[in-house]
Symmetry: C2
Subunit: 381 residues, 2 copies
């Protein structure tokens, strides 16, 4: 089989498929780049759970439960760590509108019987002294995880190579088909890569690869900063800090060794990956408002990535179009979080078995509007 | 002769000396990097002219007068442009304290009979529509120039190579001497570079190269941003814009082709070139306050350099210590501006002729406190 896209979803699915006995080629001119490289690495489904997104919450909760085993398996296969942290998340609110939103989130999570604890600003600062006086209220979600996305990607590439996966560094132009069946991957240069099964994991670029994918994903730009504590600066928080600052969402994910990843803006501007003055200004301002000590931190990197947004914010995981065409994309802000369950779902599809229950909501058939829903008709090779 | 340091001062002096018949080696592991690379490229001595710095103003005015001929000569020798612009400078003030400072500067310049024009905020916006409504008053200095420092450095390296200058990519450790005479350059690796004359142009790193230089320069960190206008964003100013924003100096130097360089912070933190969150936040905030349209610009680069600060803010240009030791450093914020006159001064020293009159104030003898002032005893070779 061929996997188009060497981001976290493509690598996770490819590695799992190879472990199941498939001969896999990953097609990507720059594996482990793009949105996966730019990401923050929060594994925090509960605090992403806004009312109306219950299917996404179920998917995230199921995936985060699989994360410790997934991380251990990748680390073991690669012989190198993935940087998993289990320190939990706190959510911080500044203005009164932000506190109202936080209260609504807490009430919603209580109805869903999720374990969260409401805190005063003072109690929050006792947990995380880095949080500043402008924060008036918060939540604690002790079960959330976080991962160093770049360590994870490096480990996935190593694990993939050790499992015998081939990497083809050409740029995929589309999925080749003949008589209603997939025959391989068309490349910008050189011959097709022959394959009976093609899994499209090309993130925001997926929609252009086959007519059946048209409109299923669009690019949603996100800008992010990578900071590092300098000697003498206030220590970084131990937990992931999410915040609402005058209505703008902000997060700060600590890394082992004094790193702090601050994200993320959201903008729909097509395939533009320019880092803007306004985006960086907002992130710096909001980060300082919540964590004043970061003023003394080093600004190591500013970057932008393109999240693959789907029409309903749920990913698109399943079979569609010609026989042998599988897709796993549309993960929007949740690609790292959802990689274990996506890999499990793709492995099930490849075995003609049912996907994990929460992944059923991600079936691309939901967009086919009463047309015949394509089944998972793939043959092991 | 050997020149330690391939920044704008070292390259300018080396190129001029080679044109005068000297055999020159430039010693630098990374020519055209450091403060010269990070710089903004303002050639604006008049608006730098704070009361008490009349010697520096005279030096800058004399050097800016030499800039058009210098730029033309470098461009011709290199066969490539240096990016000189002759659109002038405007100075903008925001708060009332800033306007008071601006008035003091205008009065000072009037006493010195320098050509400046005081403007209301509205008149300033007629000249430069990019300037925002928070700017209440300003000055126009039509004679100021600006240069694309990176184009200049590239042209200087090409000109130097065409003139037969050798580049030694080793790291200079110090000036070798014997019996009160310079014998060459000691390197971190390999043999000395033999030379009867050594010119130290190592910027903030100069003080460590010979005991006679101890304490003459210290590193003054500056952070700077490189922006670019994106399609649809408000056009950049045509003139260099200097501003005082709540007491903080800010400048924005336009580049041909939609670029804009925004600087610069000042911090004395030793040899630390970390870009800080607080520094970038200040630059972005101040730039947006004066030029609101930059919010939509791309943030291409954040960088920090180390200016060579001298005890009195004047450069250190002359002979000192053992015979054959020359120095041209301590240019602080004015290295690009002062490169033509510094090159002329060094050429005069090499010919045993008097330096241009305004350079006399930069003689290192001013720091020798009554000890015998070393003359310019160098022999042509």
């Amino acid at each position: 089989m061929a996997v188009i896209g060497g981001g976290v979803i493509g690598l996770s699915c490819a590695w799992r498929a190879a472990a199941d006995g498939w001969t896999v080629t990953v097609v990507d001119p720059a594996p482990r780049s793009g949105a996966s490289w730019v990401a923050g690495g929060m594994l925090a489904p509960v605090t992403e759970a806004w009312p109306g997104e219950e299917d996404l919450l179920a998917l995230g909760v199921e995936s985060v439960a699989r994360w410790p085993a997934f991380a251990a398996a990748v680390a073991e296969a690669a012989g190198q760590p993935v940087g998993l942290r289990a320190d939990g998340t706190v959510v911080a609110a500044t203005g009164s509108g932000d506190r109202d939103e936080l209260d609504a989130l807490a009430a919603h999570l209580a109805r869903l019987e999720r374990s969260v604890e409401s805190l005063t600003g003072r109690a929050l600062r006792r947990l995380e002294p880095a949080i500043g006086p402008d924060v008036r209220a918060g939540l604690s979600v002790p079960d959330d995880l976080a991962v160093d996305n770049r360590m994870l990607l490096a480990a996935l590439v190593t694990a993939a190579e050790k499992t015998g996966i081939e990497f083809d560094a050409r740029s995929a132009d589309g999925v080749a088909t003949e008589a209603g069946r997939v025959t391989g991957v068309r490349c910008a240069e050189g011959p097709d890569i022959a394959a009976d099964v093609v899994l499209v994991c090309a993130g925001a670029h997926s929609a252009a690869l086959h007519p059946a994918l048209t409109g299923l994903v669009r690019p949603v730009k996100g800008e992010i900063l990578r900071l590092a504590r300098r000697p003498g600066a206030f220590p970084a928080p131990r937990r992931t800090v999410r915040a609402l600052v005058d209505g703008r969402p902000m997060y700060a994910v600590p890394r082992d060794g004094d790193g702090l990843v601050v994200g993320a803006t959201q903008a729909e501007q097509g395939f533009d990956t320019t880092v803007t003055v306004g985006g960086v200004r907002d992130l710096l301002r909001d980060a300082e408002r919540v964590l004043p000590g970061v003023a003394e931190y080093a600004l190591l990197e500013v970057a932008a990535g393109l999240r693959p947004g789907s029409p309903d914010n749920l990913p698109v995981i399943g079979a569609l179009g010609p026989d042998g065409l599988l897709v796993a994309t549309g993960h929007h802000r949740n690609g790292i979080l959802l990689s274990p369950i996506t890999a499990d779902a793709v492995a099930a599809l490849l075995r003609d078995e049912p996907v994990p229950e929460p992944v059923r909501a991600a079936d691309p058939a939901r967009f086919t509007h009463g047309e015949e829903s394509p089944g998972a008709r793939v043959d092991q090779r």
